[in-house]
Subunit: 338 residues, 2 copies
Amino acid sequence: MSELRQNLITRDWVIIATDRAKRPDQFANPKQLVAGLPPHRPDCPFCVGNEEDGTLETFRLCDRTGWKVRAIRNKYPALSPTTERMRISSGIHRTMSGIGVHEVIVEHPRHDLTTALLSIEDVANILLAYRQRYSEIRKYPHIETIIIFKNHGESAGTSLEHPHSQIAATPVVPSQVRSRIDEAIRYFDDTGDCLFCRTLEDELAAGERVIFESKHFVAFIPYAALSPFHIWIFPRRHSSSFDDITDPEITDLAYTLKTVLAKLYYGLNNPDYNYNIRSVPTTEQGTKYFHWYVAIIPRVSKQAGFELGSGMFINTGLPEESAEFLRSIVIPTSKDLG
Amino acid sequence: MSELRQNLITRDWVIIATDRAKRPDQFANPKQLVAGLPPHRPDCPFCVGNEEDGTLETFRLCDRTGWKVRAIRNKYPALSPTTERMRISSGIHRTMSGIGVHEVIVEHPRHDLTTALLSIEDVANILLAYRQRYSEIRKYPHIETIIIFKNHGESAGTSLEHPHSQIAATPVVPSQVRSRIDEAIRYFDDTGDCLFCRTLEDELAAGERVIFESKHFVAFIPYAALSPFHIWIFPRRHSSSFDDITDPEITDLAYTLKTVLAKLYYGLNNPDYNYNIRSVPTTEQGTKYFHWYVAIIPRVSKQAGFELGSGMFINTGLPEESAEFLRSIVIPTSKDLG
């Protein structure tokens, strides 16, 4: 018998296909673990020595050996800050000029690494770049929503090998974001509590879907996870926007994110995945009803006609079993790796 | 400069990436057109002669030569009608038993055909099966929403070659469906008109996004199409639910659907796609504010972290250019095909 579960934060209903649930390890990537990439490629625009002339660079974090992380304006941006703001309503059509920001974060000088294999310090550098860019971009005119995201692997929407992530700022609040905020406000008005804080409390009390806990963060599979190994990382401290993160929290999130991604890497054989960091719209900074968080979506299943036609999901992994599986994955230490 | 467009029916914002838009033919499937499937496979459960014992069959349309279309209960259903209804609210968790219906429509006895290559009569038979099953399933207890959908090809979520589609009935109204209905009601309350009828009127007046018109149906690419070649087929007559379709409309929809899918088949080299038929929830049958329609989503682009993290979309095809391209595709007649 299958079971329907509703995620109160997204209000999505999910069919948890308990009858035909797969074992967690059946979601592992059938491809080989090590893709055998070179540490440097002469034709990669993100590799050391191949940097563009610098006019696109917006941020650079360096040590004595050179840059560690860079932020650059996307050469082919979906949204651009130099566009003039124009909004037209004509009949039922709403149109707006593509004003906004679209930057790329080059995460590491090495071509062949991925977050799961980086040091905590390296991951913290990426998060520092995110915070710096988020804080800066928030000051640009006409920005409403800032999304930080990463596409890892071809089925997650990237063909670029060099480790990178992106930051996009839109001049509208997407309707999906708006409706989730409306739900969070309704819950706050009803109870006086943040729905996300309450969810975290419940997940910690239940324990069975928690994957990893650190001082400031908790990684868990939501009760109504939309897809197998769909993971949320929540900060324990209530805060509505990522750029409010403190330095000790950055280090701790680096530790948490690296650990969770390494568990996916070793447990599911380096699956393709996306992650994104969701914050409240910039004009609502500092609210009590919204809580920023990281969502990780391994691409181990496909949306088909049912999902596209209903907005509901069928999850063939049991959240409790998936969490238990990831808890059990031991990350090899550098010594084990030789 | 890119442009943002809002789809008023879904309220989704889409970034139309005019700057980096691809030419329509660049979305063509790089694989070969003819997959070279055999007309019959001894190991295919949907092929003639391999039918299961018949206890799963719910509908069969025959002529003197045998069955033309069959409906069978899914052997591994996501939702089942024999489940007892149970709904539990515990804290912030909402759970419900997996009551509902999940059937497969075997579209044709031949293993190697696809809708684009079928005769209009064959496609009409599939639609007749849809109507019969929709009408029957609507009478089952606890059904709220019925979705008819098809997954064509691996990236659309199927690994079964034999032409088939599915019908699923859920015991809840999915939140995405609910929020679209709320929008449609708001528009109806504001104007006294059906938002879908109004959209159709506007698209016919503009003309540039229309792909194909028949007596009872219009196929067009929405102004704010979420992805390249995202197509809607609207009935001209206002009706909120698919099972209200008349016999002449069935024949005409078969003609329209076949034509549009054949244009995709020949124009884009048999791309993978999903289609779904959206109706109002069963308990709201006969409303003035909702209009049933067919949505076709060719899988020529991928959702990545931006889409997953914002609910917005980036479309690298211009709706007007995509429509012009499909209008220009001539479908070979059987004589041309030899």
